[in-house]
């Protein structure tokens, strides 16, 4: 069993109204030291590596389901063998 964390973020140049609004909210709380906030999501995925190569699985589920390539890109980290 292997744990993988897949990070999904907006591509550069995609308009991210959520990040902008949160940044403004942080400023209105007085935290001027915060220059930029970008929001992303991550998926912690447990893969049975006896059944299949983990990289293959990650590539497939990301491309088929987890990532919208019109807007997003992804990266992943293999966390640990459990």
């Amino acid at each position: 069993m292997t744990n993988v964390r897949i990070f999904v973020t907006y591509k550069e140049s995609v308009f991210d109204p959520q990040g902008e609004t949160i940044t403004e909210a942080i400023h209105s709380l007085g935290h001027d030291e915060v220059k930029r906030v970008q929001v992303g999501k991550f998926f912690d995925v447990q893969v049975d590596t006896n059944q299949k190569d983990v990289k293959e699985t990650v590539a497939e589920i990301s491309e088929q389901l987890l990532v919208n390539f019109n807007l997003e890109t992804y990266r992943y980290e293999i966390m640990e063998e459990a």
Binding site: K11, S13, V14, F15, D16, P17, F69, N70, L71
Partner: protein, 742 residues
């Protein structure tokens, strides 16, 4: 994108404009006749987008002239953001529809969402408060993962935008046919309400007046594909940039409230207002100048920008959402800034109205465009098109029409109720907030949506309808039927049809057969609109709807709005009381070509349509409306897909009642789709009065019963159907298909 721009000479030699949609002939015409010099990179880009079909209507203009666009009620016809119709008491209704087919095929959520966002801006740019949204969606059969994904995302996008804006999505239509698989149709309509005194126009005039920009910053979103298509990305997935437009309904909500405050409370500051839609800043600004015959100078450095290093070309062609352009009387710029600031928005002066008729763009101290305004808006070469009758039409005329044969009518009805085009769409419509602003008297699930006009006795009814199958089989008759169907939906709710907006969704107009379809169907729609006195006050054309060389069915969508003078006269679609009498209004013929029955039994559609008698239907609808206004009708439902059998079942759904029906029609004719018919229920004591009003148009067929049974005795047999079970099948059909694995 640090693209080094080509010089004028390089443009002439390398012809990048071909990829931007400008033909060589057009380019030469611009060089030789309009400018008498070579246009630079930015200028070529401006021509390319402004001369696109989407902005110039160069292909469809000759055909659109066929539509009637005026009557004594019309206050504003086509040409502005939206059309406006007088509804009395100094008020007016404003509406328009828009297609977002291509963006939705690529990125369904954002494509649909920004489609809704765009049409809403069109409405509030007229000074009207948007009160309702509708949609018209056409997808492939629900049998592939991709189609299910498209459906889910498109529906989520429409709901996501409207719900957040607080504009109820109150109605629409949804059909499923193979031909839409690769090219779904996503049309959205918005309806607004206004005081006539607040009417606005998109005009920039008065030398020295300011051009102001408000709303979201400009990014590289949606720049006409060209820049990105030509940047050499081997695998699209690897692209680190995206030009997809993303909607921000929260921003648009603020923008809407601010613009309405400006148009309704500070008209004296304002000369003109227009939204930035397709082709963004260039189209909004040059259209505003062109309508007033003004010259314009814009300083592009002042345009708020989200991304660094944007070129003039990119700034002008960006389709970033949630932006508006204002022309403000000189001296009031600060007032406008303060008004928008109050909503957390920035308003910026980006230019002025200047003497002459030139369109002048300055960027980084250089003049990047200096061309006559009219060259962009008026001088486009209108294209004559070839027309040819498709072989399938001639073939169908030579053959005899298909005649159905049904052995088990009850079973056929059950199957038809489960066809996705007919089955309940509740699983989708309940993800739309259909009630916000508490004016929705009738929401999704009836013939037309009905909204009361607060503070008056009036209500507005609205609907979207289109049936590509009929138009495919006979564009002219199909076009008439589309208008009739929309009108019938309004009449069924008790409303007088006022006017029409449309979305004309077709394939590649350079194909003579497709152009013929466009032309013929517009002739049909125009004739129906004239007969019904419902002028076309706004609309939209979407051509090139094809996938792998296969065109969609020609699918004009008709959006129609009607007026109900008294809230008392709103007619429900569902039966109301036990023992009420059931009437069929309108005669049934053997109309099976393109019917749901044909599709069910043969798996396809074919044949030719019977002519529809518009005048006869118009008279019938007028009589029915008069009977309704006299309080003689308890419920009414128009007959469309699936014919009488389906309509009878539908009028009982959600009620505790059943029907006992006896008719001289054959079992097959129960499914005929003859246009312009209704099923109506009437209280027993009003029977004579109703019949007198309807003359020979209404035929008594039975009564409302208290059991949930549909009993029909027809010419050659009879059956009973448990309506509880039938309703279950009708409700579960789509959820079931959406869940099933393929």
């Amino acid at each position: 994108m640090i693209a080094t721009e080509m010089s004028s000479q390089e443009i002439k030699e390398q012809k990048p404009y071909l990829e931007w949609g400008l033909s060589e002939k057009e380019y030469d015409y611009i060089c030789e006749k309009l400018l008498k010099r070579l246009p630079n990179y930015t200028e070529t880009g401006l021509f390319a987008v402004m001369w696109s079909e989407h902005c110039s209507y160069k292909k469809s203009k000759p055909v659109l002239r066929e539509f009637p666009s005026k009557n004594e009620r019309v206050l504003q016809g086509p040409g502005e953001g939206a059309g406006i119709v007088d509804i009395g008491d100094g008020q007016a209704v404003v509406f328009k529809a828009e297609s977002h087919n291509h963006p939705s095929a690529v990125e369904p959520y954002e494509g649909a969402a920004t489609g809704v966002g765009g049409i809403i801006r069109d409405i509030f740019s007229m000074g009207a408060r948007p009160i309702a949204a509708l949609d018209s969606l056409h997808f492939g059969e629900i049998n592939q993962a991709r189609t299910k994904y498209l459906i889910n995302e498109v529906v989520a996008g429409i709901g996501g935008y409207g719900n957040c804006m607080g504009i109820p999505t109150v109605g629409g239509e949804m059909t499923f046919d193979e031909c839409y698989t690769g090219n779904p149709l996503v049309n959205a309509m918005c309806v607004g309400l206004m005081e006539q005194k607040d009417m606005q126009v998109g005009r920039a005039q008065g030398i020295g007046n300011a051009v102001m920009y408000v709303g979201a910053k400009t990014g590289r979103d949606g720049i006409h594909g060209a820049t990105f298509a030509s940047a050499d990305f081997s695998d699209e997935k690897e692209t680190q940039r995206s030009a997809v437009q993303v909607g921000d309904p929260f921003m648009e909500k603020l923008l809407m409230e601010a613009c309405l405050e400006l148009t309704n409370k500070h008209a004296s500051w304002l000369v003109g207002i227009q939204d930035m839609g397709a082709a963004g800043l260039v189209s909004s600004s040059c259209e505003m100048a062109s309508k007033a015959g003004s010259g314009l100078e814009l300083i592009l450095d002042n345009v708020p920008q989200r991304e660094p290093e944007m070129s003039a070309y990119e700034i002008m062609l960006s389709e970033s959402q949630e932006r508006m352009l204002l022309c403000i009387r000189a001296g009031f710029e600060e007032n406008v800034k303060r008004l928008f600031e109050n909503y957390g928005l920035e308003a910026v002066v980006i230019g002025r109205v200047v003497t002459g008729q030139q369109y002048l763009l300055k960027h980084k101290g250089r003049t990047v465009a200096d061309i006559p305004v009219s060259s962009l808006t008026d001088d486009v070469l209108e294209e004559t098109s070839q027309e040819k009758v498709p072989e399938r039409i001639l073939e169908a005329q030579r053959n005899q029409n298909w005649a159905p044969q049904i052995s088990d009518v009850a079973d056929t009805l059950k199957k038809i109720l489960q066809q996705p085009t007919i089955a309940s769409k509740k699983m989708f419509t309940q993800t739309y907030d259909s009630q916000v602003r508490t004016n929705t008297v009738v929401g999704p699930g009836s013939d037309a949506a009905v909204l009361r006009v607060r503070g008056t006795k009036k209500a507005l009814a609205m609907t979207t309808d289109g049936n590509g199958r009929f138009v495919y089989l006979d564009p002219k008759i199909g076009g008439k039927m589309a208008v009739i169907e929309a009108a019938a939906n309004l009449i069924a709710s008790g409303a007088l049809p006022l006017a029409v907006t449309d979305c004309l969704n077709y394939g590649d107009p350079n194909d003579p057969e497709i152009y013929w379809e466009l032309h013929q169907s517009v002739l049909g729609m125009a004739e129906a609109c004239r007969t019904l006195d419902t002028p076309v006050i706004s609309g939209n054309v979407s051509l090139y709807n094809e996938n792998n060389g296969e065109a969609i069915y020609p699918t004009p969508m008709i959006g129609m709005v009607g007026l109900i003078n008294n809230l008392k006269n709103i007619i429900p679609s569902f039966v109301q009381h036990q023992d009420d009498l059931v009437f069929i209004v309108g005669r049934t013929r053997a109309d099976f070509a393109g019917s749901e029955l044909q599709k069910l039994l043969t798996g396809d559609i074919g044949g030719s349509l019977n002519e529809v008698n518009l005048k006869e239907i118009e008279l019938r609808m007028t009589k029915l409306l008069r009977a309704m206004e006299k309080g003689l009708v308890e419920s009414a439902h128009d007959l469309s897909e699936g014919g009488l059998a389906v309509a009878l079942a539908e009028t009982t759904f959600g009620t505790k009642y059943g029907l006992n029906i006896k008719t001289t029609l054959s079992g097959e004719e129960l499914f005929s789709e003859t246009a312009g018919r209704f099923v109506v229920t009437v209280a027993p004591e009003k029977k004579q009065q109703f019949l007198a009003e309807m003359e020979d148009e209404a035929v008594y067929v039975g009564q409302v019963t208290e059991d949930k049974q549909l009993k029909i005795a027809y010419r050659n047999g009879q059956f009973g159907l448990d309506l509880e079970a039938a309703e279950g099948l009708w409700e579960e059909a789509i959820p079931c298909l959406m869940k099933s694995k393929d």
